[in-house]
Symmetry: C2
Subunit: 690 residues, 2 copies
């Protein structure tokens, strides 16, 4: 077994030497000399650590490095103490993390301070794979699942699978990710069958040496769906017993199994409310089942009702009354924003508000609402904005980060989840720059104080600075000036550009409804009979008087879910940040913005600005051609071209649609639309001009 | 008969009062008072003249106007003498032309000088309809034929047909057009059958009162195809007899029949060379057949050979040796440029060179190579450039206009032809602004010294100034400043913009080959086995060294077909106008332009300029919204949007294709391409994003 795994690990290394199709991710350093490793212990994990050092060592040739597994109070969890020639950790995994950090600093040139302690912000740093058992990936834009294939072929595992999972595990481990939910939150009932669990066991075995625990999404109604029971009522003794036995079965074959992720009573998924029980009843029953094995339950707060007048209020309304009722191994998993992973949302008000319950943020790495794997959108700026948002729940500085990482509330478990953007595409993520979002999630999960700019800097150095046939002749200073600086700027501006050309000023969820792609613009989408909260008009509320969702105290009163001073700040149009203006306010078309423009004009200028920002990105990228290998250069160039076309479609579609209400001209210093509204209204942008 | 025609004429007037779909063309003046018409004679044509005066009179209320048919030596042909209250002419048609001119001046506010003589530049001012007998129109972008319907339905003529033909005749007559070739130069053999000629008779009867003669395109092999003869050899007595009898038959039913238009030994059409005879043999035989009836033969010089190394030289090579051999009722019909109606060509060198033969220009009103009826391209600037080109054949000032209108050479017949852009579309031409090209052709055919700007001015005033519900409140000065001036400027710049974004600097015929649409870019088009001269590479000759067709004395020597000083001017790269640079020269990518840029950069900037010009047109048009009725405004706006998208495709396709040879970056102050070359290479732009 051990030998087989080492073989796989070696295979993973050799795969990294393939052509520049992006498969090597940020792991492309090749050692420039030898290193003398001293380590008293041995294990699979330590073997990996040693191999990484040997393969990637860029320090002094022949230098000595000591790896010491030894308890130290200052080191928490799988953290480590780093010096130029020593890594000390409480755990073997801590050593591996330290090795990755050391190699990263060698490659990026970042300073290594003697005895620097690096501890993780969250104990559990988890990818959520929305992978279906048939191999498709919900909201996946990088090919089919790396874990699951066509169900008809069963759950066979090949050496090729194991090799790929090893690469996956290595990549995750290198950025501190230590958990993976292997299947979609819209779970298949088959997930908990014994055949399926056998495959999970095989995956877990590959992931384990890299310190990655496996988790599963499960259907709350599993007892009746596959267990032969009449009910799945969480208070029913048979149901309780069934789950305990199932937990036992799982832990028997996967001793380090992480736990369950549950989407319950949400978008048609079954849950405890089907039986008149609360979320707490449901979550606690499952928590009791896994508790003996150290498992946790991640219970999602993504809930909304068809007839609610404001979907954004729902999670708070349902979960706040349950605060304090959950077991200590239940964590409520809350999306960053109260609607749904939009390009820009204020933070969900549950953060900081649930003081007696563990809460974990759920971020979306896959770009469901941010341009799929077509558009270059670096998400870390959005996550930084979110994590640093002050909830004021425990005074100034009660940031989302601090309310979730244990700094403020004594959570037994701290965790953070990111919905993965990984698939079978040769470059893993569909877009070369989407790798940066995977990378950034891991880095921010490890250290929620890192800035998005630092992470972009690191990622670019690791991903694009490796020498190849084209870059061998460049000096570092030239590369920094002509590649690193402009491309980092592009990344840093990319999310704001996407907001500008898609839904600026607090607009949200005005996506195309056709085929439910969430790709192009669709503020007009409203087929007969559809739920109101599934139409963009529910969110933008454009009419002859104005535009925006009134969430003030005179409207849906969503503002009241925020702690003062935010409540008043958002409630008052004079103080509400203009970034969130139309999220909280319905305003007349001629509302005067702070810059003196009227709202309609500002909307026009902002959409136009977004288009021009993408054009600028194209120029930036075209200029760095000498610094990038041919394949990645041209693939990114091609995607940026399409992004530019699609940004134009967003601008045209939204401005022409809203113009029907505003009845005002698009300011004449702005480029005119190039599409007719009626054309865009009947076109699916994901198919258009591929 | 006479009553029926008058009824149709009245019907035509009432049709003009329809909604603003553009059907009324430039004929929308409604009289503001009464006029007292004095006319000693009466006829169908004079009845029309009187009716036009009554319907459109904008002069002094109750004023007297005298219409006098009286010979006057100063008045030529169907010219007229115009005063504020009198029109004198040699012919009744001259009176009608004078009436249209008087009404036009009343409407545009142009001065009416006492006893001003207005004579036509060309005797025959002819539309060529490339209409097929099945109702389709070759290179027609305005719906099906107004003359021909589905052949299977036979040649029945309805009152609706006659009403439309009456409107057509009126529109033509109002701008001086006096002839129409009713069918495609790629003629059907059925054209000369008796059934078909009966329909021609019906059309001729409707057109006659408006002074419009009918002509037909005929297949040179008609004697064998429909006459039962073994040959169509023009020197064969049976063939000669057949044509004489056919002419007799035609003139028997259409006494004012104009004559034949022949496309012979061109693009697969039969001709005298099939029998070892010359163009002169063929043309003269036909000329003899129609001569007794006053008919003419228009013989096209549009010939080229599969294996020629320079298609542009062919017409001159074939026809110059025949100069002097043609009957006096043969006119050689020569396209303005030596290749084929390209966005920009130097004039065909036959003009002025054939000194002993009548030569007539053939212009293309339908926008085969200039954006179909999608793009707003005002062609009169191109025609003006052409007509004013100096051939130098008889010294300075031997312009194409003067070498063809009888000023220099004593042609018995002078004529000019324009390939029509007319179809069943409610606005006749597909694009509202394509009407301006029909209008301009007529006006220039009447007076080849008119400037394109004067004509644009006239046309805009006639077509857009009529009061409607939106414009009633505007004062003329406001309209002039805010509508006339900017829209005229748009028109005047439109052809140069089209050249810029499609084939600048002398590039030509680099159109998409897919489906033979001649719409989008296709410099790459080269399917296996195709004739070389049907591929764009034959014309652009791009390679690693440079781009352009070497037609200098060291190349194909096409320059030698031009009279000095043009020959030397074109031959020398230093003196060759840059507009024609790549027409005459193959130049290195880094060739230094007069502005200091290298050729590649100049190409990039010029394509980009073209795109930005269309964007500017969009702004211009959007600003005039208050001055235009809703339907025409939005239809033109929509077409401009597509033009902008398509200009972008042209720029991207050409620059990315040529960049493969130039290996140089697109200058970085230019917006980057938004399409990938391989996408455009497999896409038919006529279908894309309709």
């Amino acid at each position: 077994m051990k030998n087989k795994l080492i073989c796989l690990i070696l295979l993973a290394f050799s795969l990294n030497l393939q052509a520049e199709n992006g498969h090597s991710l940020w792991l492309r350093a090749k050692s420039s000399g030898t290193v003398n490793i001293v380590c008293a212990k041995s294990s699979l994990t330590l073997a990996i650590a040693k191999q990484e050092l040997e393969q990637g060592w860029l320090g002094q040739n022949g230098a000595k490095i000591v790896l010491t597994v030894k308890k130290d109070k200052a080191i928490e969890n799988d953290g480590y103490k780093l010096s130029e020639n020593e890594i000390q950790a409480n755990t073997e995994l801590g050593i591996l993390y330290g090795v990755y950090e050391l190699l990263r600093r060698q490659q990026t040139g970042e300073a290594i301070i003697q005895n620097e302690i690096c501890n993780p912000s969250y104990q559990r740093r988890i990818l959520n794979h929305w992978d279906n058992l048939d191999g498709t990936v919900e909201r996946g834009y990088a090919g089919l699942s790396i874990f699951w294939h066509d169900e008809e072929k069963g759950y066979a595992v090949t050496d090729k699978d194991r090799a790929l999972w090893t690469e996956y595990a290595r990549a995750n481990s290198s950025i501190g990710i230590n958990g993976a939910v292997l299947n979609n939150v819209n779970s298949s009932k088959l997930m908990l069958t014994s055949e399926c669990l056998e495959k999970v066991k095989a995956i877990a075995e590959v992931l384990r040496p890299y310190g990655i625990k496996t988790y599963l999404s499960v259907k709350f109604s599993s007892p009746s769906l596959i267990g032969g029971l009449q009910t799945s009522d969480p208070l029913n003794p048979e149901v309780i017993k069934w789950w305990k036995e199932k937990a036992n079965e799982i832990y028997n074959i996967i001793p380090d199994f992480g736990g369950f992720l549950i989407k319950a009573n949400s978008e048609g998924q079954p849950g405890p409310q089907d039986f008149g029980r609360t979320h707490a009843d449901g979550a606690n029953m499952l928590a009791d089942a896994v508790k003996p094995f150290g498992g946790i339950i991640m219970w999602r707060a993504f809930v909304y009702e068809a007839n609610s007048n404001d979907r954004a209020c729902q999670a708070y309304k349902e979960f706040m009354p349950l605060d304090g009722q959950f077991r200590d191994n239940v964590i409520i998993q809350v999306k960053n924003g109260p609607v749904d992973f939009q390009p820009r949302e204020p933070f969900t008000p549950l953060f900081g508000a649930m003081k007696k319950t563990s809460v974990m943020p759920e971020l979306q790495i896959t770009q469901e609402y941010l341009g799929h794997s077509v558009q270059l959108v670096y998400l870390a700026t959005m996550w930084e904005e979110f994590l640093k948002s002050d909830t004021y729940q425990e005074g100034n500085g009660s940031t989302v980060a601090r309310t979730t990482d244990g700094s403020i509330f004594p959570q037994k478990y701290t965790a953070i989840a990111g919905v993965a953007n990984i698939g079978l595409d040769s470059n893993w993520c569909g877009h070369h720059f989407a790798q940066a979002n995977w990378y950034a999630f891991g880095r921010m999960a490890w250290n929620n104080q890192l800035t998005s700019e630092q992470i972009a800097d690191e990622w670019l150095k690791l991903t694009f600075s490796a020498k190849d046939e084209k870059t061998t002749t460049f000096h570092a200073a030239d590369w920094q000036k002509n590649f690193l600086v402009p491309v980092k700027q592009l990344m840093m501006e990319s999310r704001e550009a996407a907001v500008n050309y898609s839904m600026p000023l607090g607009l949200h969820h005005i996506f195309a409804g056709l085929n439910n792609t969430h790709y192009g613009p669709g503020p007009w989408f409203a087929p007969k009979g559809i739920r109101k909260d599934w139409t963009p008009a529910y969110y933008h509320k454009a009419d002859s008087l104005g535009i925006g969702f009134d969430r003030t105290s005179k409207g849906s009163d969503a503002v009241s879910q925020y702690h003062e001073p935010l409540k008043s700040l958002f409630n008052n149009v004079e103080t509400c940040p203009e970034l969130y203006l139309l999220w909280f306010h319905h305003l007349p078309w001629d509302y005067k913005m702070k810059n003196g423009r009227i709202l309609w004009d500002e909307l026009c200028y902002t959409y136009d600005k977004g288009v021009n920002e993408v054009r600028q990105f194209q120029k930036t990228w075209d200029k760095v051609e000498p610094y990038v290998d041919v394949q990645r250069f041209s693939e990114v160039q091609s995607k940026l071209r399409r992004q530019c076309r699609d940004a134009q479609v967003w601008k045209d579609g939204c401005l022409l649609y809203f113009q029907q209400f505003s009845k005002r001209p698009i300011p004449f210093d702005i480029e005119r639309p190039v599409y007719d509204l009626n054309y865009l209204q009947k076109t699916d942008l994901t198919d258009m001009l591929k």
